[in-house]
Symmetry: C2
Subunit: 349 residues, 2 copies
Amino acid sequence: MEKQIGKQSVRFENPPYIVSSAAIVGQKEGEGPYAKFFDEILGDDKAGCESWEEAEGKIQEMAANKALSKAGMENKDIRYIIAGDLLGQLMASSFGLIKLEIPMFGVYGACSTMGESISIASMLVDGGFADNILAITSSHFASAEKQFRFPLGYGNQRKRAATWTVTGSGAVVIASKKMAEKVNMSDKNKVHITGITTGKIVDLGVKDSMNMGACMAPAAGNVIIRNLIDNGRKPEWYDKIITGDLGLVGKDILLDIMRSKGYDIADRYMDCGIEIYSREQNIQAGGSGCGCSATMLAGYILKMLESGKWHRVLFVPTGALLSPVSFNEGDSVPGIAHAVVLECGETEV
Amino acid sequence: MEKQIGKQSVRFENPPYIVSSAAIVGQKEGEGPYAKFFDEILGDDKAGCESWEEAEGKIQEMAANKALSKAGMENKDIRYIIAGDLLGQLMASSFGLIKLEIPMFGVYGACSTMGESISIASMLVDGGFADNILAITSSHFASAEKQFRFPLGYGNQRKRAATWTVTGSGAVVIASKKMAEKVNMSDKNKVHITGITTGKIVDLGVKDSMNMGACMAPAAGNVIIRNLIDNGRKPEWYDKIITGDLGLVGKDILLDIMRSKGYDIADRYMDCGIEIYSREQNIQAGGSGCGCSATMLAGYILKMLESGKWHRVLFVPTGALLSPVSFNEGDSVPGIAHAVVLECGETEV
């Protein structure tokens, strides 16, 4: 069987399984509509640490350990960690995961990082290079604001198109079929990754870093359409098409882009950023950050698949490629998105 | 054949080939002892751009295009780019490679990033997920000083253990056997990647960011020893064991660590950072940066293998995991290193 499908997609010969997952979130996320789906809600967003950066690392460590214990695994069972976050030089991943002592690949795709991490992990497992891989990302509202925007003490006003960086970390253990059988997963609740579509950087010249939804929507549209074309599918093949953090503004743009190309996905579309908070929480256009799609995947999306409510999901974390230096230098904010095909309970048609 | 060897290594079933490479360097590197090996030496370290960050992106673009043209390939022949740099949020890779319009995975392992990029690329090619992948990294003296250290205008004094960030980008096209045959490589000059050993983060508590050699040497020792044990090899199996940028201080520490564990590698050891500049260039302990090992690989190491001077090389880019925030917060500087086994002209014994 050919693994390379079309221009940008892969279909797996031996689809890897997601054998366990964990989502650790902060206080605000714990007050939102999905609170009951998360494994742990922090009582203190500093997680007992001295700095926000250290706290973000700590949350990654908690999510990693929780995912391992839920899989009944120890550190030594994991061949690679593929991890990333939004901080310069991946500081949360680098410091948070030291104690695990597992060979590590750091990855960065802004808020699309969970899509990148799962994509690479799935190829390495399908290719026989690892039996178990931990894919993990995080973000933290306060460490992100400090790095990308203004000191919190300024109390600056937020634009209506702005998004709120999710404090949280989501982790999944991706395993070969052999390993999935070992952890006693029944056929019914096995979420497996049957394919991926890897995004290109898309830059339409949007420069407003307070409107990341607009920056990312074209990249999301691009990779979703590529996934459909490469696989010869219609949107209806998926029960849900779920982006990472386009927010209210990006959602409208994406749906418009899709319609202009002849695809109507409105009836099966969902955005993790719009979902994770309620409109009453005063978070403007929605949640964002690597932790947004990662915690919604680990906490909610996988449970919907495992319970049989959904059978096929196109999970599309979305990233806005900016740095504190790039926007100060007046650069545009290019977008990137990576799509992952999740299936459960039904086989490929 | 089992691909997973020992605790941290992989041996490839269908070793991928390096079908072309390109190294673009700055002025100082062009005045060093390896000048004649590089594809292009910039007349202006800003490469005609308005900022150093933009220049670093431009250098990546130049290296990518050069590697493609040397392979006789176009953008559409490359399935993935795996790219990284030292700047926050991988700004040089994100902006420099937009025009290529190739699906992209951003990676970060500090100055070990070329090792990580090649490792992932090799697994994806061996696994059949891609026929051609571009692995590329860069660094730039001025953008790195601006980000990690002091404004150049300060004219601050440099510690003797400090290293000088290389301005340059190295790129390699990693291809399947089928593709290597297409580009008419003869058996004699085919450098292939027969294995990798992936490093863990190693933190012995060194906090001196002006002595990165000391921070990275334990990680380098760790991954070299792991490579030898996993593969059941002695150091003599390799013609050269080459680290990325340990510099003069890190070199001594590494050789001591190796001796203390019963391995003497001094007679076949080389460090890209020590080599790339001459001692007269006033660069303290040596060169560093993702561009250091990448340009020395693309410019020099591959040529030594292709010409038959060396047959087997263990290439070990080394990284110091620090960020401007982490050292201001008083954190230690953990190290990581990733090893790649390069062979040419001889088959596995």
